[in-house]
Subunit: 316 residues, 2 copies
């Protein structure tokens, strides 16, 4: 297949490129590089089966030649208000790529009668009142809060994707991606794992906001990419959660990273400076992914962290 | 002021035109007439202080000369799946006008440093789990259900409006409009009041789906327009509910219309054929509108219905 990946220079996108190329597909990446990084795909430059266009998909998407699949991943994705790559710093771009960008990407898929996959997010559940989150949960999003630029943009993206499926008969897929980690995450992305690893590698105490009891579940990138690839090939049009249901507190995560790195500086608790509406708890129910895609995460946390730490060491 | 009204040929928009012209403002209407009706504004043709452009605001908006305010009302708004004017028949247009259209309208406001008002909707609350609905309620919307084309588009529109306020310093206002009725509603709009009035005037029994116990609250158009005008002039940037808190069952409404019209054909109950996710109950909490705008509905239901029935009689 000839596959267009928007946001293909991002963390998830670039791993997806590697995987699809390995499966003998041809890959075209469109990315404006405002949060993606050219270094993530520079190892692919010059290949006959790979091309890259630096362009903002919110404006327009033109791809010469036939496209068989469109995978729409483009979006800022870090909630951290202090990171230059966080959507709180890029609110309008985030809203635009979720709406105008999704509309453009669906347009390409429609013209080519291509398969379409939307990279949605667990953020559409907002600060959930139900645990773990099933796909049938309607979510709990503050429509006009600062985080809504991402959450509502992605909710909109899901809605328009379903509309193209229903009314234009497009073969569409929606992945609700939960927290994912791995090599190539931005060092200054602002999320917990990169923050902790950078601090641990520098021998500094790991900063925890509040008491560290807020929980997350972390999926290793290779597992997620496998799920995305299976979903693309499936017959499922309704949203499917992709994430690791193994839940842990931020405190336990920090201790594990210190242990693997051998960092003796410990942990530093600071008053809760988390982004407004930062959810206290989030965990995917992956019953649907298991039954529909026969998928579940395989990489354990320790293995994933070691691979990620190795990559961070090289880049620091 | 020179005021741009998108969707100004619609039911609400055209009444807003009348009111603003009466207040000595100049009005420019942009409307693609897919659900609006040129007859709603034909009485304004030829006035120096009024102009109309037939155009789809989802594509692009160009207005020659300075604009002081932008009121973005354009959107299909009837949930009825059988009406040609209902958003279930116009899913992609509804999604586009809520996202691309709102983005374009905000762009005009930004260029002109104009005041911006978004006509949002009680539908952003979905099938609410809280009664009555306060503005602080996050809502209960099925993201990928058929109604989401309207609900999620409007949630997105609110989110991008707030983002333009926060990050581009635009003076924005968000009205969450609850059920409204009055002259100029489309006879075949598919909503309860037009359906009932048309049936009553034809001497037919009024069709009620299910047992008629589902409740609604109906605001007369003049009250709503007053609220919109006050909100436009206010300092309030967060959403404000505008609607009539007087709740009644669909059954009581039908009986009242039969009584006013003098229709002896009674009521006909049919199995529940309502649109999926049609909310069982919806009622605005207007505490904020009262305190911020010193606004509350003044027209009682009987008066409103009589004025509406008069208009329908002329048009039938």
């Amino acid at each position: 297949m000839r596959i267009l990946i928007t946001g293909g220079a991002g963390f998830v996108g670039s791993h997806l490129c590697d995987r699809l190329l390995k499966e003998m597909h041809e890959v075209i990446v469109v990315d404006n590089l405002i949060t993606g990084d050219i270094n993530n795909i520079s190892h692919l430059a010059g290949r006959d089966d790979f091309s890259f266009v630096k362009y903002d998909v919110s404006n327009f998407i033109f791809v010469p030649g036939k496209v068989d699949a469109v995978m729409h991943l483009a979006s800022p994705a870090s909630p951290n208000p202090t990171s230059p790559y966080g959507y709180p710093q890029l609110p309008i771009q985030t809203l635009k790529v979720g709406s105008l960008g999704t509309h453009n990407a669906l347009g390409v898929a429609r013209v080519h009668e291509a398969v379409f996959l939307l990279a949605s997010t667990s953020e559409i559940y907002g600060d959930p009142q139900e645990h773990p989150q099933k796909e049938s949960y309607y979510g709990h999003v503050d429509i006009v809060g600062p985080r809504s630029v991402y959450d509502e943009a992605k909710r909109f993206a899901e809605s328009i994707t379903m509309a193209y499926h229903r009314y234009h008969d497009l073969d569409t897929h929606i992945a609700r991606i939960f927290n994912t980690f791995g090599p190539r995450m931005r060092l200054d992305d602002g999320r917990a794992i990169p923050n902790f690893i950078v601090q641990a590698l520098k021998g500094k105490p790991l900063t925890i906001y509040g008491d560290g009891s807020q929980t997350r579940s972390f999926c290793y990138i290779d597992d997620l990419v496998e799920g995305l690839y299976l979903l693309l090939q499936s017959d499922e049009n309704y949203p499917v959660n992709l994430g690791n249901p193994q839940e842990m507190s931020i405190l336990v995560l920090a201790e594990e990273i210190n242990r693997i790195v051998g960092n003796k500086a410990g942990i530093r608790r600071v008053p809760d400076g988390r982004a407004p509406s930062d959810p206290q708890q989030r965990q995917p129910d992956i019953t649907r992914a298991k039954s529909i895609l026969n998928w579940e995460p395989k990489v354990d946390l320790e293995t994933g962290l070691k691979l990620t730490i190795e990559d961070f060491e090289k880049r620091l």
